[in-house]
Symmetry: C2
């Protein structure tokens, strides 16, 4: 999931998909690389759950799946919250240390 977002090209594809569904070729157009490469990136995105695709006729249409995005967002925000709480507590901790200020081991 983070693995999938780690690549700039893949992020660009996600960016593009934010603005609506797209075919593989449309996705590939702005991306100085072969269709093959794009398909491989797409596979990674699909594997990570970020993108869902569906083939109609010979055209594969790609769509963002917000569920995965939401999961990533949650992972980050949980950790950030955890750390920030810890950080608040640090104030109290330091104050306490100030009082002790050099007690034996």
């Amino acid at each position: 999931m983070f693995q999938a977002l780690a690549d700039p090209n893949r992020r660009q594809m996600v960016q593009r998909l934010c603005e609506g569904p797209a075919s593989v070729s449309e996705l590939a157009a702005p991306l100085a690389m072969t269709l093959s490469a794009v398909v491989q990136h797409l596979a990674v995105l699909e594997g990570s759950g970020l993108v869902r695709t569906q083939k109609i006729g010979r055209v594969r249409t790609c769509q963002l799946d917000t569920q995965a995005l939401r999961a990533a967002e949650r992972w980050i925000s949980e950790r950030r919250a955890l750390w920030e709480r810890r950080f608040d507590r640090l104030g109290a901790f330091l104050a306490e240390q100030d009082l002790k200020e050099g007690d034996g081991a």
Copy 2:
């Protein structure tokens, strides 16, 4: 940044750092690999801005930096919001399509 979070070991280190600052060895302890490897991961985390470190005596102490975490969170949430809005609009679009339902090119 996403690159940095892409590695499971690195995520575990971040996880550990959520619960408070740690020395390099403390960070390495639960991680079935050599200190050297951990230091290299640490360099990646530091390079991405996720972690700040500071050396006192011979001990390097590591801390999470929430700013980077916040940036990542924002990136995701912006895109998710964008897509979700687009998704809402899809309802209207489809309704309109239903009315047209087969007009000439």
